[in-house]
Symmetry: C2
Subunit: 482 residues, 2 copies
């Protein structure tokens, strides 16, 4: 305890009263991940106000061998920001570093400290006729640093890419307390491999993201949201290819939902309305957008996409949102799937990807395999078909006891799903990261060559293993591949 | 010699007669870089025909401690593919691995072996109504593997990004002979930091790229090429911002040339014609493009860009190419600058970048500094203003002896230019890489934190230092920063 007391005293002295606390009332809310799956303990919580303070704190922690768990909005999906049960680790909150330090409308760049909340950034750039082209459900809590550390995705990846594609510059504190400063955005820079890329998606295991320069895009001048009823998921894939050809860069969203998911939403939310008169086995939600340079032709292009899709026999029925309110209603149907299905009963949820070209076949072929292997369960896939990424849920048999069912059945179901994904050349983590939740599965299924590189790079940049220990990198050698 | 003889015998046995040679007639042409600046020696040249052969060869080289210099088209600009003078290293040519193994028009993906020549890829995808959105002067020799290893740029980076942005999947042989297989393209994959990104731009120092999955785009349905006369380079920057706002995604190229460069081309090539009646201090070459979805409106948009630029006082005069032949003439003026200026006399050329937002100021402020510091010299900058990347040439005083002038003056001039670039937060290598040419300058000017990461990752992935030794990574500790 005295080593810990020493550390806490030194941290408090370094960061001041606002910058360090051990008060359980203040610390405890941040020791459980927002899904409530993991709860840890901590030596205390630091909230530095600047990159220099982060660097000094990391040096202090290193001297005393204190592990550090960086944390942004604590809205990650894989327990990556939750400390372990030992109580040895320090939670390092970046939330006080929440300034947008520069906003250049001409260059279309914003420089943010790590703790800037996504929604705050959206609101700050809008008055300049700009937008930040990434959004997701947790936008009211997710921070720029966390989004970078997890390479977050969302519904706009189809056109704009994940967080990686938005990062023009980056600043991070490394394990030795040095500051990696690459905030200056250079569109071309070939001074060796791109070190920014190592930190993006590293979940705090290689360094602590303290700031970033982000790209902005012109605000949308118009959008058209369409809903299409489809006979099967393979037709959805053909419709996507069709829409890409017809709409080109205007295609900003393409989400698919099976009948089961739409029904769950309609049952869960009495105000929700089905966009089409008849039910269809599959549904596609399509968004076309335009900036001011292309807005004039957008409605025509949307009409043309649907008409030619009808002629090609790709859609059974379709509707175009008449106005913004209806467009929001269409999107709400998509966004409410997860809560609606949770209301039905327990489920194992999987965030997986396969090549875009294979996703329709993967869904069509593997859902029956899952249901055959786990009788009574319902397997449902929905989401970002255009990214080769679906949320793949296995719903418990009717009446299965919540909590107990997941505890007894969950691991076997998830392993079965992950095995299928791996056979199809896919990823067991498309957008939620590995965190602590999937570190075992990554060790079990990861390519030994990939795992060796992960370990070697981790060892090279954090030889003491103090940055977010237990997350992402399976440190034990993986079993030999067969 | 006997160790070398053993290695050669084993390599020949592994790869066959076509796969290994020590014949000076066959090897010597590949021991000098194409600019003729560096000449090395080699133990022999291997030309494996498959990834498995590359892997076996790397294992063999590792056992015997033989350094490997990977080589594609040998058209790099920084000596990165040329062995040193010791004669200890093996040149590993990827040129026999030249198959496009898969081309999927629906998914818009091509899987290429490393030795596929860029122009071959362009020609292979065109019949499918597709294009590969990266091109450069050396397209007839540059290979996909080399383009990836150097993260090549070109004139389309403005809209489509450098080679990094085109790589959907990657395969490489690592220093221990293991095969890193990430060829399967996953649009979303968050199983840790993206290991592909480490290999892109690593110049063969971390692994040998053996194949890649590349993204393709719809073929162009139309393009409009414009030439604008401008009073100064800062106006060029304002015109760029204007064109981005008006033309949006249609803006594919924006190159700038000073009066000096255009004059050099007109003097060098008697058939070249100036696009505008009067000379202007600066010129901008602007290309707008459209695929079939947006072609209908392209001519109108181009007209609107120029008209409003006139109204805003951004251009002095302008011309729109009347047809494809004239468009090619406009581009030829840009492409002939380098040879035209070489014809004038010796010059020190620099491939540098600063933030896009700063480039106009950088050019305006630093050219006079260079000319003041080196009396009689002429400093000229031209190229990719929209990428923050210009070719920054310092031309010798009239009558300076070619060869001798570069040898006596060159280093001091380049250091002066690189110092300026560094003061402005820029990069001493925008698109040509570090190779052996700039490794000293990188050590001198690189941020010690960046250099430490480069070294640590190099050490982690190639502990014996056998992959392209002497290139890119300054292994000696950098002097302390001041």
């Amino acid at each position: 305890m005295s080593r810990n007391d020493d550390f806490c005293a030194a941290a408090r002295s370094l960061l001041g009263e606002r910058g360090f606390t051990t008060d359980p009332e203040l610390v405890d809310p941040w020791l459980t991940d927002w899904r409530g799956r993991y709860t840890g303990r901590a030596i205390g919580m630091a909230s530095p106000a600047s990159t220099a303070e982060v660097a000094a704190l990391v040096k202090l922690a290193r001297e005393q061998g204190v592990p550090i768990v960086p944390q942004g909005g604590n809205s990650g999906m894989s327990g990556g920001a939750t400390p372990d049960a030992s109580g040895d680790a320090l939670v390092l909150s970046l939330r006080r570093m929440n300034r947008i330090t520069r906003l250049d409308p001409d260059a279309r760049e914003a420089v943010c400290e790590a703790g800037v909340i996504l929604q705050t950034l959206h609101e700050a750039v809008a008055p300049h006729g700009l937008r930040f082209p990434l959004t997701l459900g947790g936008k009211g809590s997710a921070t720029i640093g966390g989004l970078i550390a997890t390479n977050a995705g969302g519904t706009q990846v189809l056109r704009h890419g994940s967080m990686r594609a938005q990062v023009l510059g980056l600043e991070a504190v490394l394990a030795d307390g040095s500051v990696f400063d690459a905030l200056v955005p250079l569109k071309k820079d070939n001074r060796g491999f791109d070190l920014k890329q190592l930190l993006i998606g590293s979940e705090g295991t290689l360094g602590i993201v303290t700031g970033a320069t982000l790209r902005l895009l012109p605000a949308l001048a118009d959008r058209v949201v369409m809903w299409a009823g489809l006979p099967d998921v393979r037709t959805a894939r053909r419709l996507l290819i069709h829409a890409e050809k017809m709409a080109g860069d205007a295609l900003e969203g393409f989400e698919v939902m099976p009948r089961h998911s739409l029904n769950a939403v309609l049952a869960h939310n009495p105000r929700a309305r089905a966009p089409l008169a008849q039910p269809h086995e599959w549904n596609a939600l399509i968004e076309l957008v335009a900036d001011s340079a292309t807005a004039a032709t957008l409605a025509d292009r949307a009409q043309a996409v649907l008409e030619s899709a009808f002629e090609a026999g790709l859609v059974e029925d379709a509707a175009i949102a008449m106005n913004d309110a209806q467009a929001e209603e269409f999107w709400a149907l998509r966004d409410e799937i997860a809560p609606a299905e949770r209301a039905i009963g327990p489920a194992m949820q999987h965030d997986i990807s396969v090549p875009v070209a294979s996703m329709a076949d993967f869904v069509a072929e593997t859902l029956p395999l899952v249901e055959a292997r786990f009788p009574g369960c319902t397997a449902v896939a929905f989401g970002h078909l255009g990214d080769g990424n679906v949320h793949y849920h296995v719903l418990a048999p009717a009446g299965a006891p919540r909590g107990e069912w997941e505890a007894t059945q969950g691991k076997e179901i998830s392993q079965f799903v992950h095995d299928l994904v791996t056979q199809w050349g896919g990823s067991i983590s498309a957008e939620h990261g590995i965190g602590q939740m999937k570190v075992g599965e990554l060790a079990r299924l990861g390519d030994p060559v990939h795992l060796a590189i992960l370990r070697n790079v981790k060892q090279a940049l954090d030889p003491q293993g103090l940055l977010n220990p237990g997350k992402l990198v399976p440190l034990a050698p993986a079993p030999a591949s067969h």
